[in-house]
């Protein structure tokens, strides 16, 4: 086994080089500014983890030198550590994207506060990436479970908050503050998982054994005769596939519903902007229902919770148009998708989704018709007069305005009063629609900055 010892030494040397490069990279990132404390915590974790792994490889060298292990055993031991290296690289990518120059600081600070109010003991890292994608993932739990397998990670993992969410936004659109309303959908995912909503909603879904049964002969004819499954086995497989798909689609629809309860109409408007320019409206996948279905759920929840008939014509028309689209038949490709769609039967199950998702939020967190009407009345006139709407009230007694209210006021101006807003701007900013829109985004970003500073200042002043 002498020859394999040489190979093992080479592998260890290469891995140690990689880890050293990682530590160097974390040093380089140390001098950058991040808007979230989470980035620094993660940076410290990556560095500590890389250093610990480096030490562990020294230990492995000694074990290999003893010559007592078979090649397979050596490989298994080394792989236990090596598989973490690409993962640490991934974490470094998140840290890099969360540099304050990539992700707008004015947005992230109030967003951090908001997420903290929705999910206690949490922190976020907002990472701007070049991909056209919004996503959320919780890291602390993953790191903690990994540290059970790899004890080298344990001490650095203990520094992490209970929940550390990585929220990715597209870097090209990082300043387009209004469409970041879709973050409410991503938060919906976090809440859906945390409250185990899948287990609450799923029992109300009829899995439509009748439709699955009808599928069996069709799928059966498509099988390779040599390895064909029995009818019973096929039916079991199909039931499992449909159940998995229903669970995943429900998760998306549930996150949309929570998003509407958190951010109100703003989630609907931003989701339309983001999603309609991403995929075909009928396209679905194993994990995502078709956009048409998602829009249907969101618009129905809005209609049930908001006095749409009192809204201005522009909003009423927008909602009515999308409502009509939601009613159109969906051209689903695969047969399982059709069955999944029938199982979900939104017409029947919407109330279940609506009440389950609404039930997990307290009154303070829930954005509702009353708040929306008040925001339109108080905040929209400010934006139209080129005044940020980050605070209201008398001097010395001003109150900070919450993130969902600011975003909703911004959407209202954009959809209903944009020309009035434009008319206030200087000719260069009126020249094109996008130039005017940029100014609106900047005004909203300033509103968010003022709202956050007002609260943070008070906290610091009282924290003697």
């Amino acid at each position: 086994m002498e020859s394999y010892k040489g190979i093992a030494d080479d592998i260890i040397t290469a891995a140690k080089d990689r880890l050293e490069a990682l530590v160097d990279e974390t040093m380089r990132f140390e001098n950058r500014t991040y808007s979230s404390k989470g980035s620094r915590i993660l940076l410290a974790f990556v560095r500590a983890a890389a250093q610990e792994l480096d030490k562990s490889f020294d230990q492995e060298t000694k074990i290999v030198d003893e010559g007592l292990l078979f090649p397979k055993e050596i490989d298994d031991r080394l792989h236990r550590l090596i598989f973490l290296i690409p993962w640490l690289h991934l974490l470094v990518g998140f840290i890099e994207g969360s540099d304050i120059h990539h992700a707008p600081g004015q947005l992230i600070q109030p967003l951090r506060r908001y997420v903290g109010s929705v999910i206690e003991k949490s922190d976020i890292i907002v990472c701007a990436k070049s991909e056209l994608n919004y996503s959320i993932q919780e890291l602390a739990k993953t790191i903690r479970s990994l540290s059970e397998i790899v004890p080298e990670l344990k001490s650095s993992a203990s520094q992490l908050p209970e929940y550390l969410f990585i929220i990715t936004i597209p870097s090209v659109e990082s300043s387009d503050i209004l469409i970041h309303g879709v973050v409410a959908h991503e938060l919906g995912h976090a809440l859906y998982n945390r409250h185990g909503l899948g287990a609450i909603i799923f029992p109300d879904i009829n899995l439509r054994e009748d439709l699955i049964k009808d599928l069996v002969p069709i799928v059966s004819t498509l099988q390779d005769p040599d390895s064909a499954r029995s009818e019973v086995g096929l039916r079991r497989d199909l039931t499992e596939t449909v159940a998995k798909r229903v669970t995943k689609w429900l998760k998306e629809l549930g996150a949309d519903a929570i998003g509407v309860h958190l951010f109100g109409p703003a989630l609907f408007f931003s989701a339309i902007q983001v999603l309609t320019t991403l995929d075909h409206i009928d396209q679905c996948s194993e994990t995502h229902p078709p956009l048409k279905l998602r829009i249907k759920v969101m618009s129905r929840i809005l209609k049930e919770n908001y006095p749409i008939e009192k809204w201005p014509t522009a909003l009423k028309r927008l909602l009515a148009d999308w409502d009509e689209v939601g009613e159109m038949p969906i051209a689903l490709g695969a047969l399982v998708d059709n069955v999944t769609f029938e199982c979900l039967n939104i017409g029947r199950n919407l109330d279940v989704i609506n009440s389950a998702t609404q039930g997990i939020l307290n009154d303070n967190l829930r954005y509702d018709a009353e708040k929306h009407a008040s925001d339109v009345e108080r905040l929209v006139p400010l934006l139209l007069s080129l005044i940020p709407c980050g605070e209201t009230g008398q001097l010395g007694m001003t109150k900070s305005i919450e993130l969902p209210s600011i975003i909703n006021a911004g959407w209202y101006v954009y959809l209903c009063e944009f020309e009035k807003f434009r008319s206030q701007l200087y000719e260069i900013d009126r020249k094109s629609r996008s130039a005017s829109k940029r100014k609106l985004h900047e005004l909203i970003l300033k509103s968010l900055e003022i709202s956050e500073i007002r609260l943070a200042w008070l906290e610091m002043a009282n924290d003697s």
Partner: protein, 209 residues
């Protein structure tokens, strides 16, 4: 007539019903200290964004040249310094900063931006273009320069300048709210590149060649 701090407080406290007639300064984080009794100004704070000129990327600033606007884009590096952190301004360095406060003036007020003497004694010059005209809406761009001998730490959120308000008397008709080039200034700004009479000056230059 210059407005006393007390009068400014009144205007902020009991604003006119019509939004366009209001004086807006937002946020005023510590009204008692920013509007000191007996003074005739309001203190304003340093904001979180800076434009730092990149000398290595540009050969000149020539407001008569056709590529001036595109030059300006290459000229700056935008830096965000959150409250709690600092920006080091070195001797002879020039950067653009912003006020933390959003200012909106009604048609009957004009304001002057003046540096605070505390900072001036450290070598910091805060603004050179100091007049803020009626109907201005935005953050103030602060032209920050260290004319001292040693580096100065700038802290976003600290009181760095003061605004002095004076009333504006209109002629036969009230000033109309015409949006200016500095309207909706949402960060440190180098805008306003068109110099007056540029076309005439260019003709002069052509004649000399």
């Amino acid at each position: 007539m210059i407005l006393s701090a007390d009068r400014v407080r009144q205007l902020l406290d009991s604003p006119p019903l019509k939004i366009e007639d209001r004086l807006v300064i937002s946020p005023v984080l510590d009204p008692k200290n920013q509007l000191k009794a007996g003074s005739a100004s309001i203190d304003i704070r340093l904001g979180q964004r800076f434009y730092v000129p990149l000398r290595a990327k540009i050969s000149r600033l020539d407001r008569l040249s056709d590529d001036h606007d595109s030059n300006l884009e290459r000229y700056k590096d935008e830096t965000f310094v959150p409250i709690g952190d600092h920006f080091v301004l070195h001797p002879r360095q020039f950067v653009l900063g912003e006020s933390l406060e959003w200012i909106r003036l009604p048609g009957n007020l004009l304001a002057y931006v003046i540096g605070r003497s505390t900072w001036g004694r450290d070598g910091l010059v805060i603004a050179t273009a100091i007049a803020v005209h009626p109907y201005f809406a935005g953050v103030l761009t602060l032209e920050l320069s260290n004319i001292g001998e040693i580096p100065v730490y700038l802290y976003p959120g600290s009181s760095i300048a003061q605004l002095i308000f004076t009333s504006v008397e209109s002629g036969s008709t009230a000033l109309p709210p015409v949006p200016s080039v500095f309207q909706m200034q949402t960060g440190p700004n180098r805008r306003g590149s068109d110099i007056e009479d540029a076309a005439i000056l260019k003709r002069f230059r052509k004649k000399l060649k």
